[in-house]
């Protein structure tokens, strides 16, 4: 039994934590949040690129470091802890992974080196309005290589160079790569719950679009992409949840009420113990997801769903109860609690809400059960 990260991977984690402590203190996050004209931190992006993290799991042949997904998992966890205001997930977990999964050799050669260098930012454009976007509701269409439709919200849509767009061609859903710097693309920034991440409405009017993966395979491919992204996002969420617990613990130990630290009251101790339990369940599920992802195991859909559900629950709980533990000061703009509360909403909602993943998990369990 060797269900743990290697010493090298743990070393990378330690180094990543040190690097982000120096380069991404919450004062940096606040610069993004406090300035309505800014939606990300390009300087941090450049320094993260210089670390090689953007290409950690991209093969060396395409300009990456050629490490595995386990390395990406430890980086993700550290980025989650510091609420990093950069399009890492959109670019690395989604665009790069999707191209590695389904891209043609030409797409890989053209895009992956630029992703690894930080020159190309990605985004995923699926949602078209309130509620779940399904095959039945999908309106965006591609005709003769030209995309028309509206996508809202698109995380990092305002700053990305390349979008993966879900659209129909001949009545069948597919994924398409669209150059957002090209013709036929209008972007409009959106006000969201988490201003530390960019978001936009993208309006396409006959924008040139090239297929990613086979025609009509869009929904199946999207599921594959999202499974992989879900594992990595689960590490971000777990990192954030652990940080929220630490914040609550540190504050409870220094805050006095009724003549003693609030950490000495069982109401607080038990709340923090509940956070710890949820975080450990999330971490353990995320580890299994990491194993499945790294070995391309057939268990990926089930493992990713479980990781996603547990991490979403843990981060939500830790971020809201962190505010509660802080009391009034936790409800102020000046204290960092809301950064995690906001990010927990961003991460839970933009890659499929937990209830969708629960449905997906049970569907897979049903199938597995019937097959067995």
């Amino acid at each position: 039994m060797n269900f743990d990260f290697s010493d090298d991977q743990k070393f990378l984690k330690t180094e990543a934590r040190k690097f982000l402590a120096a380069n991404c203190p919450t004062s940096r996050v606040r610069k993004v949040i406090d300035d309505p004209t800014v939606s990300w931190d390009p300087e941090l992006w450049a320094s993260v690129a210089a670390q090689g993290w953007l290409g950690a799991a991209i093969p060396e042949a395409y300009g990456g470091l050629g490490l595995g997904h386990l390395e990406l998992c430890v980086i993700a966890e550290e980025l989650g802890r510091v609420v990093a205001p950069i399009p890492f997930a959109s670019t690395v977990y989604i665009l790069a992974e999707a191209i590695l999964l389904a891209g043609t050799e030409a797409q890989k050669t053209a895009l992956l080196p630029e992703i690894a260098s930080g020159a190309r930012i990605g985004c995923l454009a699926t949602s078209e309005g309130p509620g779940v976007t399904t095959d039945a509701t999908l309106k965006a269409t591609v005709v003769a290589g030209k995309l028309t439709g509206v996508k809202i919200p698109v995380t990092d849509g305002g700053i990305a160079h390349t979008a993966i767009v879900l659209a129909k061609e001949g009545g069948r859903a597919g994924l398409y790569l669209v150059d957002l710097t090209g013709p036929g693309v209008a972007r409009e920034g959106l006000e969201t719950l988490d201003p530390s991440r960019d978001a936009a409405r993208l309006t396409f009017s006959n924008a040139p679009a090239t297929p990613l993966g086979g025609a009509g395979e869009g929904l199946a491919l999207l599921e594959q992409v999202m499974d992989r992204a879900a594992v990595l996002l689960a590490f971000e969420q777990t990192g954030g949840a652990d940080r929220a617990l630490e914040m609550a613990k540190d504050y409870a130990l220094e805050r006095y009420a009724f003549g003693r630290t609030i950490a000495s009251y069982q109401a607080i101790k038990h709340k923090l113990a509940d956070m710890y339990v949820k975080n450990e369940l999330a971490r353990s599920n995320a580890y299994y997801g990491a194993w499945a992802l790294n070995t391309s195991a057939p268990e990926i859909p089930v493992a990713a769903s479980a990781a996603r559900i547990a991490a979403s629950e843990a981060y939500w709980f830790a971020s809201k109860e962190n505010i509660q533990t802080h009391g009034g000061i936790g409800f102020t703009w000046a204290v960092d609690c809301h950064l995690h509360y906001r990010r927990s909403r961003q991460l839970s909602l933009t890659a499929g809400a937990p209830r969708l993943w629960k449905e997906r998990l049970v569907s897979h369990l049903e199938r597995r059960n019937t097959a067995a």
Binding site: K249, Q266, V277, E280
Partner: protein
């Protein structure tokens, strides 16, 4: 990252499999209730077989009659053993907690007298800690031991213990008693081993709310024990008990019973809200997902613990979350199954209820599981204090002589 055995582990597992294949029982005795008390003869026979082959007390030092093996070997053996219809294990508390305490604190003669029969299963031990006045607060024990008036140096024990697992068939036990009421509660306790057949000991089964009687009350009336039965110094009973309880986490196994897969199986066959299978009800599916995720979280937390053991490291605190999650889940999951059955859910007849009435018995047993081996609340305190480093509760009885402590009824 993988789930594979190391080469030593693989060799050991193969050796265990070969032995089990030749020696493990092929069917479970009808009388066995799976909790150990059902068929003591079968349990003893299996224990003796394991002891003879070196598969009992694998991690005990060789000086105690153990194998000097590693925790991971013990885990491997248990996992492989569980694949066979083996009898229940009434030796767990004794071998996991009581006898190690004896081996740590008794004199050489006592140690050599007790180790081998315990390992073989000839003699079974129980742990007499909880009292009617102290469950979570074990140090509030009132059962007292006083020096005999005849100047023999013997001790006379009077009082009552409660929730003693297996007392009805145990041969020996370890008991924590108050020897000095004039000092604060933790300082006036002393530990003894006792012969459960001693005159003055009366064992009465407790009729549990779940209907069964797996636990007992044990009454002590002028029970005489020799000073040589003392484990540790007079007044050091609390420190000795910490050694016992340190082993508890390793001895208390995971909860068994109805889990997500039984729930899913039942849901498939039960009509739901719209006339189709209950497994199609969205509320049912959401809960099923939550339980699966919890169960998987625990399974992989255990895998992380195993990994630490496999590397010869001390497991991290993740191993502390198991009981609290599984006990709460047992109650919620079983209750949801009853709600899914609607009116039929009240039927407790195993011939009529799905899963042989497993959900009904889980609902009735779960309250006990949430209390046994550390209540939910005590476990949360432990996580908060030992894992997160939060301060201990304020103890108003800390510097008060036991006899002056507020006690209520």
């Amino acid at each position: 990252m993988d789930f594979n055995d190391s080469s030593e582990e693989a060799t050991y597992r193969q050796q265990v499999r070969t032995w089990l294949d030749a020696n493990a029982p092929k069917s479970r005795a009808a009388a066995d209730d799976g909790e150990g008390a059902g068929d003591l003869t079968a349990a003893r026979a299996w224990q003796a077989k394991k002891a003879a082959a070196g598969y009992a007390c694998i991690t005990w030092p060789q000086a105690w009659g153990g194998q000097g093996g590693t925790p991971i070997q013990s885990v491997i053996f248990s996992a492989e053993e569980a694949r066979y219809p083996i009898p229940g294990n009434p030796f767990q508390i004794g071998l996991g907690m009581c006898v190690p305490t004896v081996m740590n604190f008794a004199d050489e003669a006592t140690k050599s007298r007790f180790a081998a029969p315990a390992i073989r299963g000839d003699e079974i031990w129980c742990q007499l800690f909880s009292e009617p006045s102290g469950g979570s607060d074990v140090a509030a024990a009132r059962t007292k031991a006083e020096l005999a008036a005849d100047g023999s140096g013997d001790w006379i024990i009077n009082g009552q213990k409660v929730w003693t697992t297996g007392a009805q068939f145990c041969d020996y036990g370890i008991v924590i008693v108050r020897t000095d009421p004039n000092v604060p509660k933790h300082k006036g306790l002393t530990m003894f081993w006792i012969d459960m057949k001693s005159p003055g000991i009366e064992v009465r089964p407790i009729h549990q709310m779940s209907g069964g009687s797996g636990f007992n009350e044990v009454f002590f009336t002028d029970v005489r024990v020799k000073d040589s039965q003392r484990l540790g110094a007079v007044g050091d009973g609390w420190k000795v008990s910490l050694v016992t309880l340190m082993n508890e986490r390793l001895a208390v196994g995971g909860a068994t019973g109805m889990g997500w897969s039984q729930f899913m199986e039942a849901a498939r066959d039960i009509p739901g809200m719209e006339g189709q299978s209950a497994l199609k009800d969205h509320a049912v599916r959401e809960k099923l997902a939550d339980w699966y995720v919890q169960a998987e979280g625990l399974r992989h937390a255990r895998n992380r613990t195993m990994t630490a053991l496999s590397k010869g490291q001390t497991p991290g605190p993740e191993s502390s979350i198991g009981k609290i999650v599984s006990a709460v889940q047992m109650q919620d999951l079983a209750n949801s199954a009853l709600e899914m059955l609607d009116q039929y859910g009240i039927i407790n007849d195993p011939d009529l209820a799905p899963q042989d009435g497993g959900f009904q018995s889980s609902v009735m047993f779960a309250p006990g599981l949430r209390i046994a081996g550390g209540t939910d609340e005590i476990l949360k305190n432990i996580i908060a204090e030992r894992v997160l480093g939060l301060p201990g509760d304020i103890r108003v009885d800390k510097d008060v002589a036991f006899k002056d402590m507020p006690t209520g009824r």
